[in-house]
Symmetry: C2
Subunit: 339 residues, 2 copies
Amino acid sequence: MARVLRAHVRDDVRTGVFRWLPLLPIAEPVPGLPAGGTPLVEVPRLAEHVGLRRLFLKDETRNPTRCLKDRATAVGVSLAVAEGFRGMYCASAGNAAISLAGFCSQLGLGCHVFVPNSTPAGRLRWLELFGADVVVHAGDYDSAFAAAEHAGSEHGWYSRNCAFNPFLVEGKKTAALEIAEQLEWQAPDLVLAPVGDGCTLGGLGKGFRQLAALGLTDRIPRLVGSQAEGVDPLVRRFKGDSPQTDTAHATEAHSIAVRHPRNAIRVLNEISASGGDLISVPDDAMAEAQALLGSMGGVVAERASAASLAALLTLRESEPLGGVTAVVVVTGGRIDDDV
Amino acid sequence: MARVLRAHVRDDVRTGVFRWLPLLPIAEPVPGLPAGGTPLVEVPRLAEHVGLRRLFLKDETRNPTRCLKDRATAVGVSLAVAEGFRGMYCASAGNAAISLAGFCSQLGLGCHVFVPNSTPAGRLRWLELFGADVVVHAGDYDSAFAAAEHAGSEHGWYSRNCAFNPFLVEGKKTAALEIAEQLEWQAPDLVLAPVGDGCTLGGLGKGFRQLAALGLTDRIPRLVGSQAEGVDPLVRRFKGDSPQTDTAHATEAHSIAVRHPRNAIRVLNEISASGGDLISVPDDAMAEAQALLGSMGGVVAERASAASLAALLTLRESEPLGGVTAVVVVTGGRIDDDV
């Protein structure tokens, strides 16, 4: 089985998400924007600075709309087209909406997105350029999510909410499959990603488990998630702490500012199964990590995406990492919200 | 020869710029940010709108720092490292400087960039994140160029000015090589790119001529360059018009606002050899083209990069394009300067 799959992947002329078709819940990919196939960039200067054996950045900013979310969208639009839908919807702090809008524009599908009122002007500008139908919701991401689900079911649009449509996480999983292939079928020791609803790290976890189950790798990496200190419900739940009641707390990392995570069970299970951890990081630590990714890694990450490196720097305080090979998933690169 | 090269390219496991090593002026690529290997996205909705047989976007926004300039930088840093330089420099309206800063950060090379005072805040933020040494010059791009060359020769830094260091255009040429490979070794009828100093379209022209000379393709495409109506010295020279004297004219398309183009002879020769054209487009036509690229093509281009599609829409007025296959090179995707 492992041999067959490895040969399939080696010989498939496709790049990116659809290279993994045998492991995806779709019969036929739609043509359109090519998602995935992003580089795994080794960053020796940053590895030395952090004190790791090896450090890689999975540079998801090189997706069509600059974000890992394009992997889920590629699967979502394939399913929507196959099932004859003419319109799609999602709720989003910006990145998922932009991703959906780009794919829908290219294919001529209707695109209806629901974003919170905190959405930065630069993100609204992307949505405008893609010609999306944008509803700026008066509330936060959580209330935009409710409004989106309501409108989607009323109008019969296809859902691109990863936390609602379980097929979409299968797209996100392909980032894990690529990391393993790029490391010549060796799982790294640690894989770090930021956590909002939990879909991305949950998807990565599923990907790594599937690789091991199929015999393509001989183990799964420890998964380390990170949340903003100001909005960290999953960290609290993972550690058994009481929920945050003071909602005056906040974060500039809008992309992960989710107070009611909808893929909590999935992501907590994946982290536990991997022997991993969930870590809160303050906004200023994210800003420092963002500067390090740029000045020593040559990659510009959005603030929320730098939470992963911030978590790695926190982890270093409590355990030795000198022999470790780590992968930081740089989920997005849109910096319009922190200048 | 064609057979050997085609087999080399097919079997080379590398992606991107260094896949073309036999046609590049370097012995050994440096590790680092992987440039090139960008998708050629077919956009049937936009083709129908424009009235072309087929239209493709060469999506250079998917380079490491979002710009075609990374192809030149990849070659430049390889040469600098091979020759033992520890520092590099360039003049730039933003994109080339950002590209150089990203590669230098990743490799630990000193990076000294000279940008005009019109450089938007978003671009300065990228340079800050990459930790570059930035000189914001009091004048425009042309005077920043002079300052950069002066400082570079004084300090013994390696030049990443494509219009000064001829090896760098060889990196840009790889975009043409990729286009031909992606079209299964058929040259398209038309290839369009924006023109500032002239290095990018000049490099594309060299690439297509080289492909034909090697027998990899059986013809060269017509090259169509575009400049902003407010700053269009090369269009005037190409058409035999008198130079622009009223420098009050200007453009929001900073990336191509070059009053004294330094690769004029190269680019004019390439355009002439291809039977091509050079077209001026007003800023509002660029803005419309930018919106079309987004809403029908799913690609967000910076304003200056949309000049190519604007030129195609102008060309449509004067000649029938119904049987034509065209490639629009979307050179960059940083939209911080037009919101």
